[in-house]
């Protein structure tokens, strides 16, 4: 576990910053939920919009105003925020070590490359899980403090689905990062790629393109509104993300085993 804890400590400051920003934002959203409980203005505005936009606005039929508001702000928001954090974590796993030459120090110790990569992936998954759980706890505390009743179990699964999406995007980024030795370039490329996939998914949903037509995109397999409505994880979508994540990790292990570490 030495490798795991060493990298976990290296990421600690970044995690604190992300936690602070996310928890403050979540509590702000939770405190605003009470006004949604008492207003149907958004519902009226959203009724004419396509379902994808209604989901973004939190006005889907079948969802209470509070659930609609929370899934729109937190579910959809965290579906972008967590993958962004995942990109940064994935790029710091190997690419930053190579860019700063610390890979020379690390890989001339008796460290197995597979073990190193799995530990780095583990730190990424753990940090994302800590952030996700903290957001859920902040949401529950914030809503309870505002005396708002929400679908707390549904919110948990909604955020769990965002976590799974982030782990998948992080795993894909980790795989791609093995061909990039410049950390700054890698971060920019990963964020641009993730942002592009998010926008493409949004555009295709608004355009009414079927799920099959969007199946190449990891964002397809996240539907915050449906998860809150159902109160559990959509297991089929979760399985697709889990398989994509596992496959990316396996390919990354193979690629890292062959990677040349240039000076």
């Amino acid at each position: 576990m030495t490798l795991f804890w060493q990298h976990f400590r290296a990421q600690r400051n970044g995690l604190f910053i992300w936690l602070a920003a996310s928890v403050v934002t979540t509590i702000s959203v939770a405190s605003a939920a009470r006004s949604m409980e008492q207003s149907d203005l958004m519902s009226k505005l959203g009724q004419a919009a396509p379902p994808a936009l209604q989901a973004l606005m939190g006005t889907l039929p079948g969802l209470s105003p509070v659930d609609g508001f929370i899934q729109a702000k937190m579910g959809t928001g965290m579906a972008l925020i967590l993958p962004v954090y995942a990109c940064l974590l994935a790029m710091s796993a190997i690419t930053r070590e190579v860019d700063r030459s610390t890979a020379d120090f690390l890989l001339t110790l008796p460290v197995g490359r597979t073990r190193l990569l799995l530990d780095r992936w583990g730190v990424m998954a753990a940090n994302l899980a800590i952030l996700t759980l903290s957001v859920w706890v902040a949401l529950v505390v914030g809503l309870k403090a505002s005396q708002v009743i929400g679908s707390f179990g549904g919110y948990f699964w909604m955020l769990a689905q965002d976590w799974l999406l982030a782990v998948t995007i992080g795993s894909l980024t980790l795989l791609v990062s093995l061909w990039i030795d410049d950390y700054s370039l890698g971060v920019k490329a990963a964020l641009a790629g993730t942002g592009t996939l998010y926008v493409i998914d949004l555009g295709m949903r608004v355009a009414g393109i079927s799920k099959w037509g969007r199946s190449f995109n990891p964002f397809t397999y996240v539907d915050a509104a449906r998860t809150v409505m159902d109160g559990h994880l959509p297991w089929g979508d979760a399985a697709v993300l889990a398989v994509a994540s596992g496959l990316s990790l396996w390919l990354a292990v193979q690629a890292f085993g062959r990677k040349q570490i240039y000076s």
Partner: protein, 296 residues
């Protein structure tokens, strides 16, 4: 058993540069100097041996272990000092040391403490606040702290002040005295000359010679100083003469090659005095490079 044995080992980059077909055997317990200018392939060879780069051809064994298939195991017995200190800047020297020892499974820190005291290393400060020389000292400490069988040192004294260079040389001698093997690449030829039993010289990715330092100095290049009783011969025409300096009947030059033809050329002109001396290693090294660039 040789501590390092390379057979036709190559690592070629896409641009065709790299190291080619290197044959080398470093004996257990010797200090081996590895010489070559920047870009000759020294660091590429070291990185290939350590598994950072994969061989494109050939094979190698270090401490009896295959460099391609058993690299993780062989790194247990190797201490590596890179040319540029590449430690974690946000950690202190002590944290870097603790991490390296923990990964290596070393619990006894007495050797590390003794070395830190001897090298006068400041382990309490974050590395980013240290000078290059002090970072280098932390790197040396980490390379030696687990008592490796083989030390691979890439430009070990760059950044060290003269006093610390001496302390480092003492350390290398002590390690050799304890039966450890040292493979050391350096630009500082005087340092290699003092420490190394044998040297290998690499040029354009190929090992051009491997020899004992003393033998190389005796056979390769000579400093020649001579004085003639009457007119001196036309020395410019004698093959192997370089850096010719003339002063009346006196001549000084360096000579590369077999001495017999030189003595034959000088003998018929009434030699009044002749001195033939071994040059420093630097001159030997230069002779290989001048030969390679067609100046011989």
């Amino acid at each position: 058993m040789n501590a390092m044995e390379l057979k036709q080992l190559s690592h070629l980059y896409k641009n065709g540069r790299g190291v080619r077909e290197v044959d080398l055997a470093v004996e257990t317990g010797e200090v081996f100097g590895f010489l070559g200018p920047n870009g000759a392939g020294k660091t590429t060879l070291i990185r290939t041996v350590l598994g950072l780069l994969r061989p494109t051809a050939g094979e190698g064994r270090v401490l009896g272990l295959d460099i391609a298939r058993q690299n993780r195991e062989l790194r247990r017995g190797v201490g590596y000092l890179p040319s540029d200190p590449a430690l974690y800047d946000f950690l202190t020297g002590q944290q870097n040391l603790d991490f390296a020892l923990a990964v290596r499974g070393v619990r006894d820190r007495s050797r590390a403490r003794a070395l830190a005291e001897r090298l006068d290393v400041d382990l309490k400060r974050r590395l980013k606040t240290l000078s290059r020389g002090n970072k280098q000292k932390v790197s040396i400490l980490i390379a030696l702290a687990h008592d490796p069988e083989l030390l691979i040192l890439d430009e070990p004294t760059s950044g060290l002040d003269p006093l610390m260079q001496e302390a480092f040389q003492d350390l290398v001698r002590e390690e050799q005295g304890r039966g450890k093997t040292v493979f050391m690449s350096s630009h500082v030829l005087g340092e290699v000359e003092v420490l190394a039993d044998r040297v290998g010289i690499i040029r354009d990715g190929r090992m051009v010679t491997v020899d004992h330092v003393d033998h190389l100095k005796k056979t390769r290049v000579k400093y020649v100083s001579c004085e003639f009783k009457s007119d001196r011969p036309d020395l410019e025409k004698v093959a192997g003469i370089r850096n010719l300096s003339l002063d009346g009947r006196k001549a000084q030059f360096t000579f590369v090659g077999d001495l017999d033809p030189l003595l034959g050329a000088l003998a018929g002109h009434g030699l009044a005095d002749l001195t033939v001396a071994d040059p420093p290693l630097e001159e030997v090294f230069r002779s290989f490079y001048e030969e390679g660039s067609g100046q011989a």
